[in-house]
Each structure stands twice: as structure tokens, then as C-alpha cells.
């Protein structure tokens, strides 16, 4: 086992900034990322192109482990052991690597939240992030005629990426009434001006391609036998209950849905970081409740790539300091974080998920995709057995017990069942599946 200086998990804007900052203080850094190329979600690079522009620009003190999945974080005396498998994804031939560090930066990002509706398990229904990742990373459009639906400004870059790879975006359905939401918090909107600048650009793309943007609308059903052939789009009231008589059938061959993001929290939970309101709690130096563990980026709140990078810089410096480096306080990054957090709060307030979604699904709608647990079965189990916590909820209903370990269904299932400890779904000591033979050699 090698004792590294700083170990950074996640190679998105937060993780890359952390690695650069720590290396800038002369500390040896190992940057571990599951992807073949750095960049994370926002800066996703085109896979088939040669080279990795971010890896090439890294300081020499950073060792980048690509195709490297952290499957466990093990607390040991005064340090953490980061268990990594490196190689072809999900293949038993991966090679193990264990990094022990006193300064661990977690920057594992987030993934889209998808809400269930009848037909959401048909092929052709994608998350918005999937459409984005496929467009940016593979140059592939998920369909020819696509509806983008959900909530938040993220729908716009997704729609414009789809347009860029040749898809026709039939419409963008925003479940909230976005404009009034922004206006309600001018200070926050102002602080996130760079983001809104970006939004103006995307809005331009939408306008040029004649993509209608409809607020208070959502895809509430998808139809087809083997894959999506059409969707039902309905107008929503303030609580996201479909307005009677407003349903329209729209012919599509793909749907991209995204209702905000859920942080990818298992490594932070494994390191025993305190979680507050679904995010990792951090102090002004991005330190978590656990000494020697820092968190940055979407793990700590959803606020976009600039905020993630600023947090990453601070976390990287704090981690370097912990292993003995002398650092100057990153005043500029700290100011960026302050304003970025205001932006993030405004974002969260403007694009909430409203309870009406619970009525989009029917009794026979699958809510846990892995284990094919329907809403009806879930609610019956909860009622019959008076389930009061996530741990028993999973075991009496089967929801969240499949391969994704509740990543997709966890929050939805907890809300439908009325149990409050939704974050308990993030307790996944095995952060990513590992073959038994790999585990045997660890």
C-alpha cells in the first residue's frame, strides 16, 4: 500500500480543482476518477477523440488514475484507506490499488433525479444527464424526436446538446414556473450571473431552432410496447397536479427527464461524514465533520460547475495544509463560493420538486426499476406492516435492494412511503459493485 499525500476522488470540476490546488503547494496528489478521461459531467470530453486535454494540463505532482473506481472507503487509525479497482469497467480483470491518506477530498458529484410516471421504464426514456452524456461523450443523439422534461436550468444545455448532435427537440417542458421563481430572489440570480449568461446563450439556440419552452408542463406518461412511441404532456397546477383536460399526445422516439440532482454520497457516508438535508455538511475550508475528509462540488449542494471548482480549490488547499503544506487563504475562491451558494439557494428555491408528482404514477407503475416494485405493492407493504424507516422499508417492499442500491428510486420511494430518513439509502459500504474474485484478492 502506498501512502499518498492527498487523495482526490472524482475528476469533475471540483476534483480537478482540488488536485491542482494541492499540487500547487508541492503536495503529491492521486486523483482517482471512474471515467476514461477527466472532466466529470460538465466538462465531459468526446470519447473517441485522441488525448485528454485536462489530464495533459495537470501539474506533475498529480498522478491521475483513470478508469479507476473507488469501491470502498475504510476508516483506519488517523487516516482513510481508499480501495480502488482500475481497468475495464465491471470486469473481473481490474487491478486493485489501495491508497492510504490523511487528507481525502471527496468530489463524486451528483446524478439526475428521475420521477416515475407510467411508461418511464420503457427504453427511450432517458435521464436528461444521459442525453447530455451521450451527446457530449459519444456524439450520439438519444432519438430523432425528443421531448426534454423536468425542472431547472439544466434542461437548456441538454436541449442544445441534443440539437447539436442532430436531434429535433420537440419541446422543453419545465414543471415549475421558472421566471417568477427567479424574480423572487434577485440577489441570488445576480450572484449567479455567469450562469444566467450561459442560459441566455442556450435560450438563443432554442430560439434559432424553434424549440418551444413550456413552463408548468410535464411528461406524465410514456407510451409504446417495446420502446417509447409517444408521450403525454400535461399542464400542471402549482403543486404539479396535472390540470384536467390539458393532456396532449406528442409523438417522439425519446424523452429526456431531469428533476434536479441527487449527490453521489456513498463514499462520504462510508467515511462517516455528517449529512444534513441530503448533502455533506462542510465548514468554510470544505472540511466535513470527519477530520481529514474534505468534500467539494455537488456533494455539498447543487450549484453548477463554477461553484464546484471554487469549492474544489479550497478543499485541495485545506487537504494540502493538513499534510503539512503552507498555504495562503484562497480569498478569491472563498468569495466565489459565497456568491455561488447564494445562487445555489436561489436555484433550489426556484426549481423545487412538488408533491403532485406522486400522482403521476399508477398502482401498476414500477417505482423501483431494478426490482420491478410497483407503487401499489410498495404502498400496500408500507400500510400492512407499518414501516417506519428506510432499512425495514427496503426489506419489506424490495424497493432499493437491486443493483443500483436505491440510487434511482431511493428518494422517490421514501417520499411515497412517508419515511423520513431518505439519506439512509446512501449507506452503500460497497460504493460500486465488485466481483467476488476481485474482493477475494483485495
Amino acid at each position: 500500500m502506498r501512502r499518498a499525500g492527498v487523495v482526490v476522488v472524482g475528476g469533475g470540476p471540483a476534483g480537478m480543482a482540488a488536485a491542482r490546488a494541492a499540487a500547487g503547494c508541492g503536495v503529491a496528489v492521486v486523483l482517482v476518477d471512474a471515467g476514461p478521461k477527466l472532466g466529470g459531467q460538465y466538462h465531459r470530453q468526446y470519447g473517441p477523440a485522441d488525448g485528454d486535454r485536462f489530464a495533459e494540463a495537470l501539474p506533475e505532482a498529480v498522478e491521475h488514475l483513470a478508469n479507476a473506481t473507488v469501491w470502498a472507503v475504510e476508516p483506519v487509525a488517523g487516516a482513510h484507506r481508499v480501495h480502488v479497482r482500475v481497468g475495464a469497467v465491471d470486469d473481473p480483470s481490474r487491478v486493485g490499488r489501495v491508497l492510504e491518506t490523511r487528507a481525502l477530498v471527496l468530489a463524486t458529484g451528483a446524478y439526475d433525479r428521475a420521477l416515475p410516471f407510467p411508461g418511464w421504464d420503457l427504453p427511450g426514456v432517458f435521464t436528461a444527464g444521459a442525453a447530455q452524456a451521450l451527446a457530449k461523450g459519444q456524439g450520439v443523439a438519444v432519438g430523432d424526436r425528443v421531448v426534454v422534461a423536468g425542472t431547472g436550468p439544466f434542461l437548456l444545455p441538454v436541449a442544445s446538446s441534443l440539437v447539436a448532435v442532430g436531434a429535433r427537440v420537440v419541446e422543453v417542458a419545465e414543471a415549475n414556473a421558472a421566471v417568477s421563481g427567479w424574480a423572487a430572489r434577485p440577489a441570488g440570480a445576480l450572484a449567479g450571473w455567469s450562469k444566467t449568461g450561459e442560459l441566455v446563450r442556450y435560450a438563443g439556440v432554442m430560439a434559432r431552432h424553434g424549440v418551444p419552452y413550456r413552463s408548468r408542463n410535464a411528461v406524465v406518461a410514456a407510451h409504446g410496447s417495446e420502446w417509447v412511441e409517444s408521450v403525454t404532456v400535461a399542464r400542471l397546477d402549482r403543486d404539479w397536479v396535472p390540470v384536467p383536460g390539458s393532456a396532449r399526445r406528442v409523438e417522439v422516439d425519446a424523452v429526456a427527464i431531469g428533476f434536479g440532482f441527487t449527490p453521489q454520497m456513498e463514499t462520504a457516508v462510508a467515511a462517516r461524514c455528517r449529512i444534513v438535508d441530503g448533502f455533506v455538511e462542510v465548514d468554510a475550508a470544505q472540511g466535513t465533520s470527519v477530520a481529514g475528509v474534505f468534500a467539494a462540488g455537488e456533494l455539498t449542494g447543487i450549484g453548477g460547475a463554477d461553484l464546484a471548482a471554487a469549492e474544489g480549490e479550497i478543499a485541495g488547499l485545506a487537504a494540502a495544509k493538513r499534510v503539512g503544506a503552507v498555504v495562503d487563504p484562497p480569498l478569491r475562491a472563498m468569495a466565489q463560493v459565497r456568491s455561488g451558494r447564494r445562487f445555489a439557494a436561489a436555484l433550489a428555491a426556484a426549481y423545487p420538486v412538488r408533491a403532485g408528482w406522486r400522482g403521476w404514477s399508477r398502482d401498476d407503475t414500477v417505482v423501483c426499476r431494478c426490482e420491478e416494485v410497483t407503487k401499489g405493492a410498495l404502498l400496500r407493504a408500507v400500510e400492512r406492516r407499518e414501516v417506519g424507516a428506510v432499512r425495514s422499508l427496503k426489506l419489506v417492499s424490495g424497493a432499493g435492494l437491486g443493483l443500483c442500491q436505491g440510487r434511482v428510486c431511493g428518494r422517490n420511494v421514501a417520499e411515497l412511503a412517508g419515511v423520513e430518513d431518505a439519506a439512509a439509502f446512501a449507506r452503500r459500504p460497497i460504493a460500486s459493485p465488485i466481483r467476488l474474485s476481485e474482493l477475494a484478492e483485495e
Binding site: 471512474a34 476514461p36 459531467q41 468526446y46 470519447g47 473517441p48 477523440a49 478508469n67 475495464a88 469497467v89 465491471d90 470486469d91 473481473p92 446524478y111 439526475d112 428521475a114 421504464d121 420503457l122 427504453p123 427511450g124 426514456v125 432517458f126 435521464t127 444527464g129 444521459a130 442525453a131 447530455q132 452524456a133 451521450l134 461523450g137 459519444q138 456524439g139 450520439v140 438519444v142 417495446e226 420502446w227 453521489q264 426499476r369 431494478c370 426490482e371 420491478e372 437491486g402 443493483l403 443500483c404 440510487r407 434511482v408 459493485p433
Partner: protein, 85 residues
Amino acid sequence: MRITVDGEEVEARPGQTVAGVLLGKGVKAWRTTRGAGRPRGLFCGIGVCFDCLVRVNGVPDVRACQRLVAEGDDIRSQAGAELPS
């Protein structure tokens, strides 16, 4: 490079994911569920949902959206739960 998908030869490029190749060919579903035998393909696209499982070189439960293709890969659709060969 050449790979095979359910026995049929397919042209692919380094840096493509298995899902990228399949969707690029217009294949939308390559797995069936264990319970109801329903078709599934890509959903989250970033490795979190495990909907896109596929069999690669005899090994099932491989995430097609994350796995990069390699020369000669034998890719097969997966029916429910399968054992490695």
C-alpha cells in the same frame, strides 16, 4: 476496430462505449428484466442506474454506458439474471 454484437460483426472506434455503439446503430434495448422480462436499455447514462447491463466476453452485469469497447469484444444482450461463463 471490430467487435461482435449478438454474434454479428460491428465496426467500432476506440473511446466508444458499448452503449454508444449500440445506440449509434439504433439499438434501444439490449436487456430484459428478471421479473417481467421487460426490455431495458440505457437510462442514466453515467453508471448509476444499472439498467444498461450487457454481457461482455462471457461476463454478465457489465454497464454498457460505462464500458469502453475493445478490439474483438463479444457483446451479448442479457436476459434477466445470468451467470458468468
